[in-house]
Amino acid sequence: MTLLLVVLIPFMGALLPPLVIRSGRNTCAVATGGVTLLALALLMSHAPAVFSGEVPKAGVDWVPAMGLSLSVFADGLGFFFAAMILVIGLLVIVYARFYLSREDPMGRFFAYLLLFQGSMVGVVLSDNVILLLVFWEMTSLTSFLLIGFWTKRADARQGARMALVITGGGGLALIAGLLLLAQAAGSYQLTEILSRGEMVRASPLYLPALLLVLAGAFTKSAQFPFHFWLPHAMAAPTPVSAYLHSATMVKAGVFLLARLWPVLAGTEAWFLIIAPAGLVTMLIGAAIALFRNDLKGLLAYSTVSHLGLMTMLLGLGTPMAAVAAVFHVINHATFKAALFMSAGIVDHEAGTRDIRRLGGLMVLMPVTGTLALLAAASMAGVPLFNGFLSKEMMLEEAAHTSYLGLDLLFPVLATVAAVFSVAYSARFAIGTFLGPVRGDYPHHPHDPPLGMWLPVAVLVVPVIAIGLFPGPVAGPLVALTAAAVIGGPLPDYHLALWHGITPALVMSLVAFAGAAALILAFRRADALRARLPRIDAKAMFEASTGMFVVGCRRSLVALHDGALARYMGVTVATLIAVGGYGFWSATHGAGTRPPLPVTATALTAFLALVLASGGVLAFHGERLTALILTGVVGVVVALAFLQFSAPDLALTQISVDVVTTILMLLALNLLPKATPREQSLAVRWRDGTVAGLAGLGVAGLAYAVMTRNGTSISEYYLTQSKPGGGGTNVVNVILVDFRGYDTFAEIIVLGIAALAIYALLDPALKGAAVRRIKAMLPRTESRDAHPLLLVVATRVLLPLSLVVGAYIFLRGHNEPGGGFIAGLVVAIALIMQYIASGYGWAAERMKVDAQSMIGAGVAIAGLTGIAAFAFGRPFLTSTFGYLHSPVVGTFELASAMAFDLGVFLTVVGVMLLSLAQLSRVAHRVDPSPESREPMDVQLERTVPRTAGGES
């Protein structure tokens, strides 16, 4: 399990820096470093096992049937990368503590850095490919945050966006690629996939999977033609560049190629695509780097070039080249991170990163200068430094590579790249540190505090140690990692300084000679380059994203121009098209289920429905008429439920219809009473056609299903209702017991809807809305006294209705009824009081407010569910028993009853809240005086008013 913690600790630790930053910047850095150190220590506790050849694993299964699990493993490759990420992370944290200025929000920076670190460790240790993809995307997201850390700078924002688009887009391709790969291998576990290379390479999915995986790897590792995002990401703070853009994130693509090497490598396609891509990237990156004047820009393109080198080596597909690639990953991480940090120090101390304004810093800042020169020598591939060794191995491999019959292509281009590589390293070193001291630096350069150069020094140690004693220092690690990459026996190789006069040595010598000439003739070369046409990748990127945005907006506006009818129409038309295609591309036979006979009653009801619907279509401009006709349709639907053995539905439908009609009447009181007819006949015909086709489709579908027999899972509910749920009304038992979870969620939704209504109508009502209501008031009838007959009738009926509600509620478990219906009945009885006697009168006498009722309802339902935990059963497990009482006799008490009580309370609360709020709108703006008498049936007040306000 500790291995899983290695991944999780940085994520948990990310909460720490923003909290402890109040105690100071040092505490913050120490806390961040402590988190990293803890993860590193846990990782190292597995080192003995890994070096002895074991592969530690840890994880939790989530949905094993779908191949989803939180599983990690640490073979040589994963272990090496995780260790590199954490060690360099630690150095970067120390460096960043001194690099960031007082104004920079350090807590936020370190939080981002730890999130990135966790994602990156996750990528390299994931066993499950889905998990790997999640972490992969997280590295893109966190690097976006880090690159754009200085949010006020436009170039930082643009660079961050570009990196996100490119690496995120590649990530999408990678998702598809790894899913295909998992499909081809028949497993989502990398450990499984890695052992099924033969199977994958023989699969027809191999090529698409390879191409998609490469899209992900190439974008992440800035391979040509996706290389351009990396230099723009240099707008990030230098610690970020040193961490993400030299040692870790950009290596994720290389890591992926290495990870999947045993599965994907060794084919024609692998070599033909990857090797030249890497070669071209190496060449182009090195050539551009030479002419960069910005130190970080130079290093960025150099990184592009070195990533190309590693990609090319992996692309060659030979075990020997894989060893060289692994070795170069180690070497590059050390010298490049050191160089980025040195560039940051120069920027910090001299105030500029422009190589043309620097020079002679060796005298002013000897410590930094020495360290940087050592690292630069390694980058150039000077003997006695680690860069020389792996570069030599690369040249040796290139010398023996023949591409499509071209024997010279790889050796020559690799040598040219090496020429540029030596030249830009020399330019970096000479231009910055050597030469005469100048008097015009923007600041007064001197060596930085220990904390800033110490990380550089720590990185330079392995640069020299590996350079001098490659075998003893790096041998075991290289062997371990390379064995994991190759997944088989290691080739016969020696990490040594001297291999005799080899082709690689000759190529190296040529590179040094060529570079010397190039540096001497730098001005002429630069002038020549200035005359070449320049390709501005950033402008092209901006232009293409701009076009994409415009295209999106156009199609969006075409579909959704701000009119509801437009996109409703588009949606329905699309559904018709899809449904129609499905219907006509299959064959259909007639149903075999015998139809029920048509009765005269049914036909009459159907006729009523047709007439009412037609009436609504014809007179929907007259809103009140349309509402009444809609009520007729509701009654027919309720009758249909009754006819077809659904008494519960009939009861629910009829009571909901009453509430809905009251609600709409209340709304109509404040809305215009008629709809103007402003659409042309053509538009109406068009909409009519769409609607007609949709109706035809739905009717056909319903008919097709109804005339066929089917299987249902309901047999279980029918047989278990009484013995398992303790009730004979199966519908109610399903609602409160079998599918109680659904019902629980549903009453929560209802409660939220009611609260939204409250929020829409109550506190926010002011300004224009209030003026409009006031203007309406004279023509509303609310000032009239309430009709005497109605007042008396509703008040007499109230207790009766409440008893009926209680009865329906109690019998609900066994007979039609239950919490929903009882709630509706009681709500209607209460709402009638508002209607008959006025808002003020009723509100004053309502002792319980609707919000508390909703809250209590949801709470009771939830607590009933939780109560099951006390008996060690899952949420909402029900129980029931029989009670004996002297008066009523034996009756049943089910825990589902308590749940139903929650449903009941919520429904009553929701209905009351929404309707009372609606009826209160006018009242709130102009509260009319209300009678204080117990019965406000005062004839002497009522009569003149009614007479005066007769309408």
């Binding site: 639907v637 077809f644 053995s645 659904a646 909901v656 709809t675 609607a691 035809l696 089917g710 929404s914």
Partner: protein, 117 residues
Amino acid sequence: MELVVAAAIGILTMVGIYLLLRAHTFPVILGLTFLSYAVNVFLFAMGRLTIDRPPVISPDAMGYTDPLPQALVLTAIVISFGMTALIVVLALRGYLETGSDRSALDAPRRTDEEGRS
């Protein structure tokens, strides 16, 4: 009988969608009500039509209709109310704030609205 019910569902759907496509809020609300009726009856019909077989367990019942669609539709009816109420109130608030109860912007959106960079 199946044909009658299917026709009823079709008519309810047609009226519902036609009203949904109107340019004012109140017809849209009515359209939503019609569409809710149509969907509820459709879901209910998925349990096939049966007469006199309510799903209430009793010793002398001849058989039972499928209770599951009924349970689903029962909650659907109540949820439809919640949805209708919310839409009604949205329409009302919109009307009170703007003085218009149209369900479309007065001027259509244009393509040249500039995004921020």
